[in-house]
Symmetry: C2
Subunit: 316 residues, 2 copies
């Protein structure tokens, strides 16, 4: 697994280990990204700290049955500050990984995580996979390129790859202390600290937020043969406004800080996409996946986790 | 102009110089690409041989009114052999160029050339700009990323960028001696040499081929303010089968070699996209562009050019 020390990766590690799988992790631990060794504390997993294009990766790949390829840069803000780094981490390094796969283990299954960010601002909701991608930041451009490289290899070399375009994901083991990794970890951190959650604009923009356990279930289903060469949307059945989502988080955390609407900062407004709702019908029909964890339940479980693991609120 | 020593670039240089523009060219002259100093023989243009991300590019950018950003890797085969190079030349170097623009000349107009290759294999013809891109080779992935980077900068920083997705282009000053730059230069070279043109499969796949003068006209119209932040398809009104196109070329060249159908080589068939037809209605409605040069006329003029400039048939 690449990116196995990160948010989604580490949740997948815990699940796989609990089911008896032998898991080997590659993670570059890029500073200020989501990777942290403590995310897999207590699990016995072999870990290589390296870029996914590193030649040493070949040894781990050679013996794998399935590669969960979750490594990447997920900060939209960082992608605008350093486009080269984002393109390297989300696209070029994946080209190297795919070449390694082709060379040492061409029959391995690969499940890659992409993002609904590739769609950017769209004309019609909900958004299915036939919608033209129109990313509004470098991160969306680079993630799309990384995803498409997997599909090119599937087409040209029979590489057995699948990519999942994930909606906004929350849950245990997310890096909470950065303001650059999406609104959910920020909202959760502020509510747990009793601070006021600030929402840009009128808070009416809608999102279909997904608990990480739903994502893990999707990643496991995506190892099916029927998913080879396919790109799937993975989002929640139900969408809510940012104000509603914040209210759910505030209530679960018992936060006295509440929430407040504030005017848009100019640089954020420019890359805002308005409301978004994923149409995940394709993965439902083809693989039987659907979101199972409702927002209020998922947030309550998440808040409990962070209360039991308070280091997430202060780690840098 | 970037890529100004290449096929389309050099034709644009001749047109711009003839209209009295001061033209400065940046070209990396990447070996086996289309760039050749002889393409601009006789024109007085300042030329910098450098990558478009080279720091020396800033000086040329600083004084420009319009940047025609035509630099790129155009070989699909090379993109599969060296994905890193293709991603660098078509995407990462453009991120560097856009950063230079933002720093030294944020108000400059940029017209970028993308390709219909970004669409890959599509479900429905003709293909308009709302069709989801589904590239079948690394070249398509990287060109799409380069194009989208221009649009991200337009959105986030008001960079005044436009991108044109060009169909298959033919005409004077194209590199004929490579087999990797599309079927048109190969067909033209073989017909002029009296060799038999070999067409894979049944020759029924259709293409809307565009004379380079039509492309040059499109590039000039795309400098209009109305085109800022827009991506346009640019293809011919009329499409023909590969067998018909070859027949037109054979007739114009007076080739005794004729043409012949041959079975698909496996590695080519995998990335074949079947028929393609561009819907260029958007650029027609918004900028008034439409293809003006019919295939038979364009091919006749092209064949005459190469008969007068035989070095194109033997240069490496």
């Amino acid at each position: 697994m690449t990116g196995g020390l990160g948010f989604i990766g580490s949740n997948l590690v815990h699940r796989l280990v609990s089911e008896g799988a032998i898991v080997k992790v590659i993670d570059a631990l890029v500073p200020s990204h989501g990777g942290d060794r403590r995310n897999v504390d207590g699990e016995h997993v072999e870990t290589l700290i390296a870029s996914i294009g590193d030649p040493r990766v070949a040894e781990l790949i050679a013996g794998a049955d399935i590669i969960f390829n979750l490594a990447g840069q997920v900060s939209h803000a960082s992608s605008m500050i350093d486009p080269q780094q984002d393109l390297r981490l989300n696209a070029l390094d994946h080209a190297d990984l795919l070449e390694i796969v082709r060379r040492v283990n061409p029959a391995v299954r690969i499940v890659h995580t992409s993002t609904r960010q590739v769609y950017g601002r769209v004309a019609r909701l909900p958004v299915d996979e036939t919608t033209a991608a129109n990313p509004v930041d470098v991160n969306g451009v680079a993630k799309l390129a990384g995803e498409q490289l997997h599909m090119v290899y599937a087409q040209a070399y029979d590489t057995r790859a699948t990519s999942l375009r994930l909606s906004n994901v929350y849950g245990p083991r997310q890096r909470l202390t950065s303001d650059e990794l999406g609104f959910l970890p920020v909202f959760i951190r502020k509510a747990l600290a009793g601070e006021t959650i600030e929402i840009f604009g009128d808070g009416a923009q809608r999102r279909d937020c997904l608990h990480v356990d739903d994502v893990v279930a999707g990643l496991l289903l995506a190892t099916a043969d029927a998913a080879v060469g396919r790109v799937y949307n993975v989002g929640h059945r139900c969408d809510f406004s940012l104000a509603e989502i914040a209210a759910v988080i505030v209530a679960a955390a018992g936060s006295g800080g509440g929430l407040r609407l504030v005017p848009w900062p100019k640089e954020h407004q420019r890359i805002d996409i308005g409301s978004f709702k994923t149409d995940s019908g394709l993965i439902g029909r083809e693989l039987g996946w659907t979101s199972a964890i409702d927002l209020a339940d998922g947030i309550a479980q998440t808040v409990d986790f962070y209360k039991e693991h308070p280091w997430y609120l202060s780690s840098i």
